[in-house]
């Protein structure tokens, strides 16, 4: 391909965070009117690359070219001035304003400060009609569906004459019909010479949409594949980085005939998950995996009593259970929530203070707290999770990520647990601490606690699970006993790409 076809090029990009090479001499380029997918597992460097290209992070090395000229992208504004627009995962629209007001925000057509609403509306409606988007210029954004909001985001990009649009997981919260519409729009944009950088965990759609795919792994280029040469299994190997990944040593549950502690039957919550059934036995670690937005977290939250459900049944040790947080805690539930910073601990309280919060039923007598017992409990928690520094008086907010999570675990380990619910326990935690957290989970399981965990990290899933339930679009689509599944199996199942069909789809 001739050089002049290149719209955008990043050469030898480097980014270092606290001595870690997040990007190590990464090369990436986009041609005019092409859909270029960026693939890689979590932590491979995709979002760092995007943040450099949208001016959120400065680069530590390398060069960026636009239309063959070297450019500096130092801020969001300078990225926008170059014609780079980003459709964000978390939408950035003004909910109470109309579609045209959102699109024209900051660039109103106005005389003496009075907006020419008629002309703005017409201009935006023309743009909408041109692409056939199913929204009206006058619609108020908060009344739109997520898919429609995304279209407003795209309209915003188009209204600024963007030449390069970045779409980061655009279909994560769309239905299949809505996704189809988005694909159509992407094709239209491509025909009009707009280039698109496409990021998605859904491999099937990536393979169908992309003209080229750049694969990143551990902050390095792991491959660049043209459309004609897409072989799904090859690309997955590039992402994972092993020639053939082996199924890890089987983690068989010795007490496989143990009685179920948690049974979920036909549980449904509209818009989140649909007709979900599974059980978790004494001492068993069951992991719900799949893409973000597939309904995993919502199930865990429902079982704990934090979210409502529409129909179905939950049984604890065979008896019907009405989830309610206070009842769950009294029954012997523990919860490591998805976002430890906002839901897991109080940063200003000490470790002891945080541990005490879940244990006041034991610590207080007629409303008075026994400080000595509280301190004993704090020390016990520190010992149980091997906290570093081993000081129960330190504020949890001042601990490292891994030790913060251990403190959250400590809140529950001091109790007699029946069921531990764990949601993405190791996000943003360094490898050493990860292992310690896995060991704690294994110890819980050995003690007979039923563990229901949510995780997107496939290596982690294979490490701790006895059984793996893969979710997709609110349903459990596949179940693996650990020891059977490989990384590829799980990746394929969660992206809706059955392993055996992979090669045929390509043909």
């Amino acid at each position: 391909m001739a050089e002049k076809d290149l719209l955008f090029e990043m050469r030898e990009i480097e980014k270092v965070f606290a001595h870690v090479h997040a990007l190590d001499h990464v090369n990436f380029n986009v041609r005019r009117g092409e859909v270029h997918a960026l693939l890689g597992e979590n932590g491979a460097g995709k979002s760092t690359l995007i943040k450099i290209l949208t001016g959120v992070y400065p680069k530590d090395g390398g060069q960026i070219f636009m239309d063959g000229k070297e450019v500096e992208i130092s801020s969001r504004e300078s990225a926008a001035a170059l014609g780079i627009a980003c459709i964000f995962q978390e939408l950035s629209l003004v909910p109470t304003l109309s579609v045209y007001q959102n699109v024209m925000l900051g660039k109103e057509i106005a005389k003496f400060g009075i907006v020419n609403a008629k002309q703005e509306r017409k201009q935006i409606q023309d743009l909408i009609d041109h692409y056939g988007f199913p929204v009206g210029a006058n619609d108020i954004v908060e009344t739109l569906s997520v898919a429609q909001m995304q279209m407003v985001e795209i309209l915003k990009a188009l209204a600024t004459d963007a030449k390069l649009i970045i779409m980061d997981e655009p279909t994560a919260s769309l239905s299949s019909r809505e996704s189809e519409l988005l694909y159509k729009i992407i094709h239209q944009l491509r025909e009009r010479d707009v280039s698109i950088i496409y990021i998605s965990h859904r491999l099937e759609e990536v393979f169908n949409l992309s003209d080229r795919i750049t694969i990143l792994r551990d902050g390095k280029n792991a491959g660049l594949v043209e459309k004609e040469h897409i072989v799904p299994s090859e690309i997955i190997k590039m992402m994972i980085g092993k020639e053939v990944s082996e199924a890890t040593a089987s983690r068989e549950l010795k007490t496989s005939d143990a009685e179920p502690v948690l049974t979920v039957k036909h549980l449904t919550r509209l818009g989140a998950y649909n007709d979900v059934s599974f059980e978790v036995k004494r001492g068993e670690v069951v992991v719900l995996t799949g893409l973000v937005g597939s309904g995993r977290t919502e199930i865990v939250r429902t079982v704990y009593g934090a979210d409502p459900y529409d129909s179905g049944e939950i049984l604890i040790e065979g008896k019907p259970y009405q989830p309610k947080i206070s009842r769950s805690v009294a029954t012997g539930f523990g919860l490591i929530p998805e976002d430890r910073r906002t839901q897991g601990f109080s940063p200003l309280l000490s470790v002891t203070g945080n541990v005490a919060v879940t244990n006041y039923d034991k610590l207080s007598k007629s409303g008075f707290v026994n400080k000595a017992n509280e301190n004993t409990l704090g020390h016990e928690a520190v010992r149980l999770v091997d906290l570093r520094p081993p000081n129960p008086d330190v504020q949890v907010g001042n601990l490292s990520g891994g030790n913060q999570q251990k403190a959250v675990l400590g809140k529950w380990l001091t109790r007699d647990l029946k069921i531990m619910l764990i949601d993405e326990p190791t996000v943003g935690i360094d490898i050493g601490a990860k292992d310690e957290i896995y060991e704690i989970i294994e110890r819980l399981s050995a003690d007979g606690v039923a563990v229901l965990m949510v995780s997107s990290d496939i290596a982690e899933v294979l490490r701790v699970a006895h059984r793996i339930l893969v979710m997709r679009g609110g349903k459990i689509t596949k179940e693996f006993n650990n020891g059977v599944a490989t990384q590829e199996d799980i990746l394929m199942a969660s992206s809706g790409f059955a392993a055996e069909e992979g090669k045929e789809a390509d043909a």
């Binding site: 950035s92 109470t96 959102n102 907006v115 299949s176 019909r177 818009g271």
Partner: protein, 338 residues
């Protein structure tokens, strides 16, 4: 129907309901004399509520507007009593004070990044202190009052003809209409909504947080100036306590009118309904013979009820929107598969 349109109907419906109840159950409510008085009573609060509405839509608040109005009244009386300045000069200086007051709030919120609540609470103290500094004192140093009998100012307390509406009422409605136009039809007005509903998005689109906040607070300062002039026109004097309870009344009226403390929601039509609602409630209850104290208690309860209703209503509407979307998707999925 749009969430806000429905909410508007509800608050307007409540106002109409209240008017009907009082008209039917008392003899003295529904006559022009009473209505005209009622409108006059609420107009100063209404004018202040215009500024408060701006501040609340940006996601903030203005607790200081009543105190600022009091300070402006007092400065007027100070200049009038102690200096021989012309009316024009006094008006210019008091207007300057009012705008500077608004600018001070805007500066602390936008540039110093102090939360609106704290910033305007502190400026309350500043304005209250200034009021005492400007207060007229007798030869022993005690605070006394000066009569203001400038004909232009006293005329502001009057009305059209013998029985026509009061000038203050007309000013309130005209200013509310202009404010509504500003909010809905101008660039700066749109920015006020955008900033309150999603600050990040507004800033990414090139809308300045500093300018938007300062605009809202300077408008509030201007409203305090106008409110002060009409207050002087009616009372012919300034007291140190003038206006000190008005900010809270203006805020409650704004909230009853459907503006949300979280920002991005509300407008002048809603606020005007809120102002009228509170005044009709107060006026009608007095017709029943309740004492001022009881009326105050009931007003407080009504505000709480409206806020509770708002919270439930918003949650309900959000859920309804989500459920409708989810149901539509299920339907689509079924029809696509089947």
């Amino acid at each position: 129907m749009r969430q806000e349109t429905l909410r508007r109907f509800i608050s307007f419906g409540l106002l109409v309901l209240l008017v009907i109840i009082f008209s039917v159950t008392t003899d003295s409510f529904l006559n022009w004399g009473n209505i005209n008085t009622l409108l006059r009573e609420c107009s100063v609060t209404g004018i202040l509520a215009i500024g408060v509405t701006m501040a609340i839509i940006t996601g903030g608040n203005d607790l200081s507007c009543g105190h600022l109005m009091g300070t402006v009244c007092m400065l007027f009386s100070f200049l009038y009593y102690y200096t021989g300045m012309s009316l024009l000069m006094i008006l210019a200086l008091t207007l300057l004070l009012a705008l500077m007051g608004g600018l001070l709030n805007g500066f602390s919120v936008a540039v110093l990044q102090i939360p609106d609540f704290i910033a305007t609470l502190s400026s309350q103290f500043i304005f209250a202190g200034l009021t005492y500094i400007f207060a007229i004192r007798n030869e022993y140093g005690s605070i006394t009052q000066a009569q203001i009998n400038n004909p232009t100012i006293t005329a502001l307390g009057g009305q059209i003809g013998k029985n026509g509406p009061y000038f203050v009422t007309i000013a309130f409605f005209v200013m509310a209409a202009i404010a509504q136009f500003f909010l809905k039809k101008t660039k700066r007005g749109t920015y006020i909504y955008a900033m309150g509903a999603n600050r990040k998005s507004a800033e990414y689109s090139g809308v300045s947080f500093v300018k938007t906040k300062i605009t809202a607070f300077v408008i509030s300062g201007f409203c305090a100036f106008v409110a002060a002039m009409f207050t002087l026109g009616r009372l012919h004097t300034a007291e140190v306590a003038t206006g000190q309870t008005l900010a809270l009344q203006a805020i409650s009226a704004t909230v009853i009118g459907g503006a949300a403390f979280t920002g991005g929601r509300g407008d002048m039509v809603g606020t005007t309904i809120g102002v009228l609602f509170m005044q009709v409630l107060r006026n009608g209850m007095r017709k029943y013979g309740f004492t001022t104290q009881v009326v105050a208690v009931v007003s407080g309860i009504v505000i709480v009820l409206v806020l509770v209703f708002d919270a439930y209503y918003n949650e309900f509407m959000q859920k309804r929107i989500k459920r409708a979307a989810a149901a539509a998707r299920e339907k689509k999925a079924v029809s696509a598969n089947g």
